[in-house]
């Protein structure tokens, strides 16, 4: 497939993922358009990471199809992976490599070569110009996230997948990351992110899906979901301040029980 023209950069249809006897993802379908930030929300063990892993090609689905930029992730896996940038929940690199060497490695893997000026420009862009010789493990959590996101987007992918990108970050780093995610959208590229933060979903996501027990139970813009469920007795019952929030809707739909 050489030229692909389409609005939906990601199309997931009837996705089933199973680990042994446990069905982690059941009949999940959704799409993400160009220039859209799409949030996948759910409690622990709901199937968010399994869904992302199937899209990324880290696990093989039992059935269903995933297409990225028109490429089937099973049939055209290398093309599909070339079209996406992935930030895993926990990213690690060989501890012997420094930041500059990690950036050069991943540029090379995507068929790019960085000269000294380009490398410095990239480091400046992520506010790490003085950290090029530092090892990844010596960076703060926020700095690690910035390096990780720089690698994820180094080849300007049409689809960026972020698995809980702001987990463990301080408010300043989180806000900075939100700006970077929004700048990806401004370029016309799409973002799929998983998060436990309803504040984050409301702040940056154009549309969200709530997933629980492996199934998508609601999809829409944050405001549409709030408006749709505003008068549900379950939502009103869990509301804490009179004003209905996305978190109230989320708790009402997924239950109050603590998940593993």
């Amino acid at each position: 497939m050489g030229e692909v023209q389409q609005k939906n950069i990601l199309q997931v249809e009837d996705l089933h993922v199973q680990y042994g006897q446990v069905q982690a993802v059941k009949n999940v379908s959704f799409y993400v358009e160009q220039g859209e930030i799409f949030g996948l929300l759910g409690p622990n063990g709901a199937g968010k990471t399994s869904t992302l892993s199937a899209i990324e090609g880290l696990i093989r689905q039992q059935s269903g199809t995933v297409t990225v930029a028109g490429y089937d992730t099973l049939k055209d896996s290398r093309h599909a992976r070339a079209a996406m940038g992935v930030q895993l929940q926990s990213t690690s690199f060989q501890p012997e490599l420094n930041v500059a060497e990690i950036l050069e490695l991943y540029a090379g893997i995507y068929g790019l070569s960085l000269n000294k000026q380009q490398l410095q420009a990239l480091l400046n862009e992520i506010n790490l110009s003085d950290a090029e010789n530092k090892k990844f493990g010596q960076l703060s959590g926020g700095q690690q996230q910035r390096v990780s996101l720089a690698i994820t987007t180094i080849h300007d992918p049409k689809l960026v997948l972020l698995d809980e990108p702001t987990s463990g970050l301080d408010p300043q780093s989180r806000r900075q990351l939100w700006s970077r995610i929004e700048s990806i959208r401004e370029k016309g590229n799409a973002v799929v992110l998983t998060t436990h933060s309803m504040e984050e979903a409301e702040a940056v996501c154009d549309r969200i899906s709530i997933i629980d027990h492996g199934r998508i139970i609601a999809t829409g813009t944050p405001q549409i979901l709030i408006d749709k469920h505003r008068n549900d007795p379950d939502v009103i019952a869990v509301s804490r301040r009179g004003k209905i929030t996305l978190e109230d809707v989320f708790i009402a739909l997924t239950g109050s029980a603590i998940r593993a």
Binding site: E3, M84, E96
Partner: protein, 249 residues
């Protein structure tokens, strides 16, 4: 939207560059791998009149190859798998085989370097000088021995997930090869045990290395040892690839 996937040689070059940097940054550990062969070459000087220079050099190189193949390769792969390094690479558009190919090339380079160090040490410390052709044949044979122990390392890291257990297992096997391989060849444990050692991965590699120094003396026993070494490498590699999981979970 047109999409190009990176060319495999470019990907391999990027991986090789990173893996050689990692090798260089771990130079202290690599020096330790070379130290044991040097101790053999130095301390076995008295055995040269009885067994010959090739015997001493072959034992030194064999031990170095075992250290690099088992402790260097297997432990690094187990650690990186546990940390998620491979998962990060797997979500990029590289062919998966390039990840391991790059690491194997780096380790084979290390084995060639070890072989040169033992050649030089053998000459400088013990005055061992072999025919020129012997050095070239030994280079090739040390790659066969390297392939055997790298594939054994692959089988271990394929079967065992925990990096700590991989570490202790490779050390145990290394120690077992030193004790049984080195001592068994001197008839200390009887003829039957010596025969087992001769046809073990230690014995076959030591045999082909010893004969390769003097290609004119290549015989049927050496050919059988070479074929068996290749056979071991194929079996271990097949099991290692079959068992291997890229992720820690």
């Amino acid at each position: 939207m047109s999409l190009t996937i990176p060319k495999t040689p470019a990907v391999l070059a990027a991986l090789l560059k990173a893996d050689y940097i990692v090798l260089w940054r771990n130079r202290r550990g690599n020096i330790m791998s070379v130290l044991m062969p040097l101790i053999i070459v130095f301390s076995w000087k008295g055995l040269i009149p009885q067994f010959g220079g090739a015997f001493v050099l072959a034992n030194g190189i064999t031990l170095g190859i075992i250290a690099i193949g088992l402790m260097g390769y297997a432990n690094a792969v187990a650690r990186d798998r546990d940390k998620g390094v491979f998962q990060r690479l797997r979500v990029s558009p590289l062919p998966l085989w390039t990840i391991m190919a790059s690491r194997l090339v780096v380790q084979l380079s290390m084995i060639l370097l070890l072989t040169i160090v033992v050649f030089v040490a053998g000459y400088q410390l013990d005055g061992i000088l072999m025919p020129t052709a012997g050095y070239f044949v030994t280079f090739f044979v040390s790659l066969v021995g390297g392939a055997l122990y790298l594939s054994l390392g692959q089988a271990i890291v394929g079967r065992i997930q925990s990096p700590e257990t991989v570490n202790s297992t490779t050390r145990l096997i290394y120690l077992a090869f030193i004790m049984t391989g080195m001592l068994g060849q001197f008839d200390y444990f009887g003829v039957d045990f010596k025969r087992i050692v001769d046809w073990s991965p230690y014995g076959t590699v030591k045999t082909i290395l010893a004969v390769s120094f003097e290609p004119a003396k290549w015989n049927l026993h050496a050919t059988e040892a070479l074929l068996l070494s290749i056979g071991y490498a194929i079996i271990f590699a097949t099991l290692g690839i079959k068992w291997f999981k890229w992720g820690a979970k």
